[in-house]
């Protein structure tokens, strides 16, 4: 049976169903997208994190007002650890807004405080184009009607006030938060503004959050092809960009976990098709450009751009491939990057020996399993004890994950690279791939790893 129980999970045997060792003769998917085992040291975040932290936070010209006690707002201030950059840094990611609910508000209700907060925030920042209100755990319990408050405030201040019922306890991971954000943005924002003009080559990039400027590398590639990026969802985007997204001819879906919902909704209501893409690594990026070109009838132009870009990076990538040949990686990401990056690592000669996601759905695991070799461990929602066991037992040459796992890897003497907020990105498309490979080189070949000493067991006092 390719499902396996790690040693550290003996007392929580239900984890066996989440832990699959790929075996092409017996294909199953690890159990996923269900509640975490309580107290298992999960690395998961909450629904609020998926909604504000991931999807809405990158929108650069609205007031992101967190309704709840102070902590929740603090954590997402400036994107938290996320580097979702924009060209409006004097406002976006600089300010953090909260209703800072106190005990008396919890007892008597926070609607009045919320209303006043929206009005005051707007008075302080009249140039903001909207107010997004996020409900946190306590709010869901006390039952504030944020919908009604937002409506009333919107009438008063005359800009969009959108509520998100993204209380942290909903769902089983960040994933539901993505969905809640998609639904509210689709319902309340998409289609509320017409673009100044449209062209036959208007496209949206859906599901890229401009981590350390990824989007700023992607957009020019399409623009050179003759395509206009009408709206990016949501990296470096204005609420106005989202509002006019319904007039594109095509949606290009990048993060395929946090945005299939809105792509489907836009397709259904406005008849705009979408295509899925991985804009990481040479081959995947070229494929994406070809797919988009085929849709718009720009094949020739695309081939020119691909040839030009590939010629600029291929020799260097070849060098890296030689240097990294035989190295083994453990990839642990939110969801799609786990499979986007199996291919990217293969292009630089690194083989995936373990892959995991925090909140992947079956679709994500199917894609991971398609891409990895037999014997690869594929694990859903790994907790920190499992991570330690896998890292200790498999001893990968490098581990790619996020900040919460970074220092665990370091303490185990395992080279690490931050795939959530990057080391020194951007990492997307061709030129970003070079940054990526450079950072991989730095992590694997830093001399310090060779200086770590093992402590003599006899001296273990």
């Amino acid at each position: 049976m390719p499902l396996t129980l790690l040693n550290c999970d003996r007392s929580i045997p239900e984890r066996k169903k989440h832990t699959y060792i790929k075996d092409s003769t017996e294909e199953v998917l690890p159990l996923c997208d269900i509640q975490t085992t309580p107290g298992d040291f999960t690395e998961r975040g909450c629904t609020y994190a998926g909604c504000l932290g991931v999807v809405c936070g990158p929108i650069k010209d609205v007031i992101h007002l967190v309704h709840g006690p102070i902590g929740c707002s603090y954590w997402t201030w400036g994107g938290g650890t996320r580097q979702n950059l924009s060209d409006n840094p004097s406002f976006h990611r600089k300010y953090c807004f909260s209703t800072d609910m106190q005990e008396k508000n919890i007892i008597f209700g926070g609607e009045e405080k919320l209303y006043d907060s929206i009005i005051e925030a707007h008075e302080e920042f009249p140039e903001a184009k909207g107010v997004f209100v996020y409900a946190t755990c306590a709010i869901g319990l006390i039952g504030d009607d944020i919908e009604a408050v937002c409506k009333q405030a919107e009438e008063e201040i005359g800009i969009k006030v959108v509520g998100f019922n993204c209380e942290g306890f909903r769902g089983c991971s960040q994933s539901l938060g993505h969905h809640i954000a998609n639904d509210a943005l689709f319902e309340r924002v998409v289609g509320t503004k017409e673009p100044e003009y449209t062209t036959d080559y208007d496209m949206n990039i859906i599901g890229d959050y401009n981590i350390q400027g990824d989007l700023w590398l992607m957009e020019p590639l399409f623009e050179r092809m003759g395509i206009r990026i009408l709206s990016a969802f949501t990296g470096n985007s204005s609420i106005d960009d989202i509002a006019q997204a319904h007039r594109a001819k095509l949606n290009l879906m990048h993060c395929q976990r946090s945005t299939p919902y809105i792509c489907e909704q836009i397709k259904e209501k406005y008849g705009i098709p979408y295509i899925r893409a991985s804009l990481f690594g040479i081959e995947q990026t070229s494929n994406a450009l070809r797919d988009v070109a085929a849709f718009f009838g720009l094949e020739e132009k695309a081939e020119e751009i691909i040839a030009d870009e590939v010629s600029k990076v291929a020799p260097k990538i070849e060098e890296y491939r030689e240097k990294f040949r035989g190295k083994r990686i453990f990839i642990y990401q939110g969801a799609p990057r786990a499979w986007h990056w199996v291919e990217m690592f293969r292009e630089i000669g690194i083989e995936t020996i373990a892959a995991a996601t925090t909140f992947g759905h079956e679709e994500d695991y199917a894609k991971i399993c398609e891409r990895v070799k037999d014997g690869t461990i594929v694990i859903d929602n790994p907790n920190s004890i499992e991570l330690e066991e896998i890292l200790t037992e498999l001893k990968p040459d490098i581990f790619i994950s996020g900040l919460k796992e970074k220092y665990l890897a370091y303490k185990l003497g395992i080279p690490f690279i931050n795939g959530h907020s990057y080391e020194k990105g951007p990492y997307a498309v061709y030129s970003g791939f070079l940054n990526f490979a450079r950072d991989v080189e730095k992590s694997i070949f830093a001399p310090v790893w060779g200086m770590i000493r093992r402590r003599d067991a006899k001296r273990n006092d």
């Binding site: 007392s11 994190a49 807004f97 303490k411």
Partner: protein, 436 residues
């Protein structure tokens, strides 16, 4: 007073309780709340200390939020014990579990009884710490945690062991090492309640231990009742525990945050007084070196207008040191509002006192008061463009993660004062040059 908070000065309670729990050897903080309540603070510890932080969460979902978190809490305690074998669990509540109204103590008691019946042996201490996020701030959470530990764990004693209890508050590993250094020079034996100096500043030596070495052992916490006295360095984060120890065991208690010359003098004298130890020449020498450092920079520091933002006790300490350096404290701001801070701040500064105001207010005040130098943490830097406003900036407090290694160095005591004095002078040099 605005209803909306813009750029908060404080974090919520649970992170303070996690900080305190992680200073106890082989302890696991178990957050009774939703997953974000553990994941987010964990990340903040990662950023500030550049260390791992292992935190468990009961992962309350929609069902638990309606029907109560009992089942999740019981399962979590059992899972944490069976998989981690810790020496203590701190069950830390959140706004979610507090609003649901779970009887956390009752559930914990019941779980312990059940495990003891099955295993036929004593269960490790499991301490409930109430930290509703809608009351106070991170330092209140630390204060509540420490009070819960000493209340729950300290045991009646036969005779005093002449140790001194020190409750550090939310300070850095470097600060704790400075404190230990002074106590060692005084020849005083001590218990740090609780001690993150190794748990949040651990070496890389393989094999990695299951829990970081160091931290205060549960036995040390249990024995803290037999100490001759207790000093809380940050009264707002530890004062309640000190008060409990004084009230219950009659030990002497004081609250001194030893930042700067006179506060460190007072700290040393208080310890000498409680423990009846002579002050050694070594400490005089350290004091003299601090004075030497201050003499070296007085031309740079004298007359500079300082704006200071930190947790209340730290802010008061830095303000006193700034005054000792001849600076004028034009803004004195606490992360958390408190009457004690207000009263003490008025004694130190004739400037503007911000008692728990947000950093948006602080920015306005710093501009109004035309400050030359600002003290604050990374989020303070994010809020206040010191480059644009032409203000020198000194990093202090929690979190500081936009520079490397701040947590390693202490600003407390004479030796820490030298470091702080240098930081201040270099910040002034960087901003204004030699003749600024």
């Amino acid at each position: 007073m605005r209803s909306v908070t813009i750029n908060p000065s404080k974090i919520c309670q649970p992170i303070g309780a996690m900080h305190a729990t992680l200073g106890i050897h082989a302890a696991v903080p178990l957050i009774h709340g939703s997953q974000g309540c553990a994941a987010y603070p964990m990340r903040m510890f990662n950023r500030h200390f550049r260390e791992p932080a292992q935190i468990a969460v009961t992962a309350l979902g929609e069902g638990a939020s309606v029907f109560g978190g009992r089942d999740n809490l019981i399962a979590s305690i059992k899972n944490v014990i069976s998989r981690r074998n810790p020496e203590l669990i701190g069950v830390i509540t959140t706004c979610l579990s507090e609003t649901i109204g779970d009887d956390v103590e009752g559930i914990v008691r019941e779980t312990i009884d059940e495990i003891e019946e099955v295993e036929e042996k004593d269960v490790i201490p499991i301490v409930t710490i109430h930290t509703p996020s809608y009351v106070g701030s991170h330092i209140t959470g630390y204060d509540n945690a420490l009070k819960a530990f000493v209340t729950h764990l300290s045991k009646e004693f036969d005779e005093s062991d002449e140790k001194l209890n020190i409750i550090p508050g939310m300070i850095n590993p470097g600060d704790i090492r400075e404190i230990k250094g002074m106590l060692d020079l005084l020849g005083v034996s001590y218990t740090i309640l609780s001690d993150i100096s190794d748990t949040f500043d651990a070496p890389i030596i393989l094999p990695k231990p299951s829990f970081p070495n160091g931290g205060t052992s549960v036995a040390e916490v249990e024995n803290c009742a037999g100490a001759c006295g207790v000093i809380s360095l940050c009264e707002h984060a530890g004062g309640s525990a000190a008060k409990f120890l004084k009230g219950k065991y009659g030990m002497r208690s004081d609250a001194i945050c030893p930042i700067g010359v006179s506060k460190t003098d007072r700290f040393i004298e208080a310890i000498s007084d409680i423990t009846e130890k002579e002050i050694p020449y070594e400490l005089e020498k350290e004091r003299g070196k601090l004075i030497d450092a201050m003499v070296d920079v007085h031309q740079l520091t004298y007359g500079k207008k300082a704006a200071i933002f930190a947790d209340p006790d730290i802010a008061l300490g830095i303000a006193e040191f700034a005054s000792e350096l001849g600076m004028e404290v034009v803004v004195l701001a606490s992360s958390t509002s408190s009457n004690a801070f207000m009263n003490a701040a008025k004694e130190i500064s004739d400037g503007e006192i911000l008692n728990g105001n947000d950093l948006y207010d602080l920015h306005r005040t710093v501009r109004e008061k035309d400050a030359d130098i600002l003290f604050g943490h990374t989020m303070c830097k994010r809020s206040i463009p010191t480059g644009e406003d032409n203000i020198a900036f000194v990093r202090c407090g929690f979190p500081v993660y936009d520079r490397i290694g701040y947590y390693r160095y202490g600003i407390m005591g004479y030796h820490g004062g030298v470091y702080l004095s240098d930081l201040i002078a270099n910040a002034i040099l960087d901003r204004y040059g030699q003749h600024g």
